[in-house]
């Protein structure tokens, strides 16, 4: 089992979610985060361009069994890239970490079938 953590652009959330659902990956957690990366974004406030020093992003966390790891990664990459197939600085990152145990609270089931 793996925990896939993806940091993506806020504006791509709907695309990524819809693509994941299409690929039959329906159990995800989403949160708002902000941080530093290579990207600088500009926003308008009262007509003035400003560059915020922490950039808002979306974090998606998905726990998957081994056989779903590749499809999940491919789906996120495809749907989170912007500006054509080459992507653009700021499209985000995917982290994969080993997952020791999963427990469904309702039934107490453990392991792969609880995912």
């Amino acid at each position: 089992m793996k925990l896939i953590t993806a940091i993506i652009r806020e504006a791509q959330l709907d695309q990524v979610r819809e693509a994941l659902i299409e690929a039959d990956i329906k159990r995800i957690s989403v949160s708002r985060v902000s941080g530093h990366g290579q990207q600088r974004i500009e926003e308008m406030y009262r007509g003035q361009v400003i560059v915020p020093d922490l950039i808002p992003k979306i974090k998606i966390e998905i726990a998957v069994n081994e056989e779903f790891v590749d499809i999940t990664i491919d789906t996120i990459i495809k749907s989170a890239r912007t500006d054509g197939p080459d992507g653009k600085v700021g499209d985000g990152k995917i982290f994969i970490t080993p997952l020791e145990e999963v427990i469904r609270i309702r039934t107490g089931e453990r392991g792969g079938k609880a995912i």
Binding site: E10, A11, D14, Q15, E43, M44, L54, P56
Partner: protein, 443 residues
């Protein structure tokens, strides 16, 4: 030195007051009471527009909150300018083009009313600005029907054209002294503060637009949650407060009829809110805050055409009926599946129709007597019902046909509906380059 200049100033002011008094002697004297109330009402009606912005703004998703608020605010800018330029003239000038709308060159940019005092003792500027606020809120109401999915540029063009060719003619027909609905039957179609002109026309136009443009992505399968119901409740509260200007101000006086309209407004809003709460409580098991706010609006909308002619018990029944019918209309919408996102038709269109039709059963006897006198023979409730039904039908048909035509053209030129990418990213980012709650991020 200081004292001397002060004295000079006072005497200059006195001189000015006296001399302007001399000039004003041959015109109608200003009724300061009526003018003061009309100034207050003008401000109160303007307050409804940020109120509407908050009401609608809270109901959409986070990514669309600013875009939705801007739909109301943009109307304050665009329609105010258009109203001064041509709107007042098209609405309150003498009929031209067979009565399609009015025109008075003196009203073009309001240049001929600089010193004009109306018969009611109110400066014409005040009346013009008061009416201008109605012209602003009407297109802003439509925006609720196609929330979360239209291009800002196309919206701006749409409301400008809609204001000129739908609102102004309708307001002329109903409120100008030579408008054909104003002179229908014994004493005209009853539309005290804009049931047909504002609410039916906005609601029907919204319905047409929502069906023409199609639903939001994912509707109705994806749950679309309001981002901030607190904002919505505050907006509903501001609308209720502002509605006293809307209805009680429409008497263009400060007297008995003002008091009658004010009372009817309060009673109908409360009855509507209570009714919605009870229906929801029995039907869903819980009384929601949004339901209470919807009931307030349904009641207020229904009493808008009626505020000048109904007594409190009539206003109460109108409020109850409006909430019942609007609740059913929204149930029906969910069955039919069209995406009138924030129920512009379900509340304003339906509530307006209920009010404009059902008010005939609660008209105060003195109004009916005056109507019979003006008519020369008996004037019954059923005669007035025919007049009301005709006015409502005219408003529905005209608003629907014109809106369809305007949307078709605007869509061809500017692409009214957002692209999929813009819609998914949200109106705030796509059209305004901002975020509503950006400051909540650590920065």
């Amino acid at each position: 030195m200081n004292l001397l200049s002060k004295k000079n100033l006072i005497s200059m002011v006195l001189l000015f007051v006296v001399s302007s008094g001399v000039f004003a002697a041959d015109t109608t004297p200003i009724d300061t009471g009526a003018t003061a109330w009309m100034l207050t009402s003008t401000a109160l009606v303007l307050l409804m527009i940020p109120g509407l912005a908050m009401f609608y703004g809270g109901l959409v998703r986070t990514k669309n909150v600013l875009g939705t608020i801007m739909h109301s605010f943009a109307a304050m800018g665009i329609i105010s300018i258009l109203w001064v330029a041509v709107g007042y003239s098209m609405t309150f000038g003498p009929s031209i083009l067979g009565g399609w709308f009015g025109w008075n060159p003196d009203y073009f940019f309001l240049r001929g009313i600089d010193e004009s005092i109306m018969d009611a003792g109110v400066p014409e500027y005040v009346f013009s600005m008061f009416q201008g606020k109605f012209a602003i809120i009407t297109p802003a109401l439509i925006a609720g029907a196609f929330a979360e999915r239209v291009s800002f540029k196309a919206y701006v063009v749409f409301i400008a054209v809609w204001g000129i060719f739908v609102y102004n003619p309708l307001a002329h027909w109903v409120w100008a002294s030579d408008g054909f609905l104003f002179n229908l039957g014994a004493a005209g179609a009853i539309d005290f503060a804009g049931g047909t002109v504002v609410h039916i026309s906005a609601g029907v136009s919204g319905l047409v637009a929502a069906i023409y443009l199609g639903a939001r992505r994912g509707y109705p399968y994806q749950v679309i949650r309001p981002n901030n119901l607190v904002l919505t409740m505050l907006g509903a509260g501001l609308l209720w407060v502002g509605w006293f200007g809307f209805n009680a101000g429409s008497s263009i006086s400060s007297g008995l009829s003002t008091a009658q309209a004010l009372t009817a407004t309060q009673v109908a809003a409360a009855a509507g809110a209570m009714t919605w709460m009870i229906i929801e409580g029995m039907h869903q098991g819980k009384a929601t805050a949004l339901g209470f706010a919807s009931g307030i609006l349904a009641g207020l909308v229904a009493v808008t055409p009626a505020a000048g002619v109904v007594q409190p018990y009539g206003a109460m029944i109108l409020g109850v009926l409006a909430s019942m019918v609007c609740y059913m209309a929204i149930m029906l919408k969910n069955k039919l599946g069209y995406d009138d996102s924030l129920d512009a038709f379900g509340i304003h269109g339906v509530g307006g129709i209920v009010g404009a039709i059902m008010l005939v059963f609660f008209i105060r006897p003195s109004w009916m007597n005056n109507a019979a006198e003006a008519f020369g023979s008996d004037w019954t409730v059923w005669n007035q019902l025919g007049v009301q039904a005709l006015a409502v039908t005219v408003a529905i048909v005209y608003a629907a046909v014109m809106t369809l035509a305007i949307i078709f053209v605007v869509d061809k030129i500017f692409k009214f509906k957002s692209s999929e990418i813009d819609e998914m990213a949200g109106l705030d980012r796509s059209y305004h380059g901002e975020r509503g709650y950006g400051m909540l991020n650590p920065n």
